[in-house]
Symmetry: C2
Subunit: 193 residues, 2 copies
């Protein structure tokens, strides 16, 4: 769940070092602040240097569905830059988040001119599809208990950072269901956090 994309991060660190024209800017976001809002123009592409953010979608029912937690090396805004459309997710900082920010134009230029970067983005997109497909399928076919067990280690790792509400929003369930199932798993000795 909290995979990191070291390759992409390393690439950006190097790019930032050699950048003399201000194409890459570092920016810091405070915990709980909003980085991107749904249905707005996106002018930049962001790569997380440090911290954790959540990428979520607010449904007409009023509930948020968390697409993914983003850690180091994760990129966002790139889909909008490629599709040339508005944002379809909101992004909030969870911890303090430091990003490398590059303009949409520079991002598209890099894609054209830098073969390594191009390949990295292709890989990143392919990975996003792969993981999304696996998760979507699993979510639709398994009860809450299984979904929780599957992410046991991830949640234990993130427990101090994210709320129960956010875990529920990631699993697409209510906090009531989450608590109920957590308690059952504790009784069974299958969960401890």
């Amino acid at each position: 769940m909290l995979r990191i994309n070291k390759e992409l991060l390393d690439f950006l660190v190097a790019l930032h070092h050699s950048d003399t024209e201000g194409n890459i800017v570092e920016q810091t976001f405070q915990p709980k602040s909003q980085i991107l809002l749904e249905n707005k123009h996106v002018f930049s592409v962001y790569i997380i240097k440090n911290g954790i953010a959540k990428c979520y979608l607010t449904e007409d029912t009023g509930t948020d569905f968390i697409q993914e937690f983003f850690g180091e090396g994760w990129i966002f805004g790139e889909i909008e830059a490629i599709r040339d459309e508005q944002s379809f997710c909101s992004i909030d900082a969870i911890s303090e988040v430091i990003v490398y920010k590059i303009s949409k134009d520079f991002f598209n230029t890099l894609l054209k001119t830098n073969e390594d970067f191009n390949r990295l983005i292709l890989k990143t997109l392919a990975n996003k599809i792969y993981h999304k497909a696996i998760r979507h399928s699993y979510n639709q076919s398994h009860p809450v208990e299984s979904k929780l067990l599957r992410l046991k280690d991830d949640f234990a790792e993130l427990a101090s950072l994210i709320s129960k509400q956010e875990i529920a929003n990631y699993l697409g369930i209510t906090t009531r269901s989450l608590n109920r199932t957590l308690k059952e798993l504790k009784t069974k000795g299958l969960m401890d956090f």
Copy 2:
């Protein structure tokens, strides 16, 4: 649901015309035949010239979850070619399916040498992520009735081609739930197919 990717199809038609080295092969699959199987090496990338296929994942519960129905211009095998990993989905022909088939190597060469193709693939991947995110979120946050109504037109269009079981597998529900909800919607006059 059954979007077509005309741009990519047109590109391949042109490429096929000018192909003198046998890099692009046309292949036909009979209805219900399997084109790709989960967890196998993938040696080629496929673009649908004609027909409809389903892309699905078989869970340990024994149920299939349909990721997407693929129509004209849809590409598959490309994620595996980029990630250099085994297949993570199975692909079955629903109607008779004619594909353009290109080798993994040729696909990767094209990505490097042909800027237009590269851009098309980037767009295609970005679109897959976009649509998957929207659907996953909607599926997790809405009851069966809403999911069905949302796809009313698509299902009406596909009704003669796909089975009830396949609709259920696409929505991640059982046929029992599907039938129950369809009946309710008919009673309410909201559904007719």
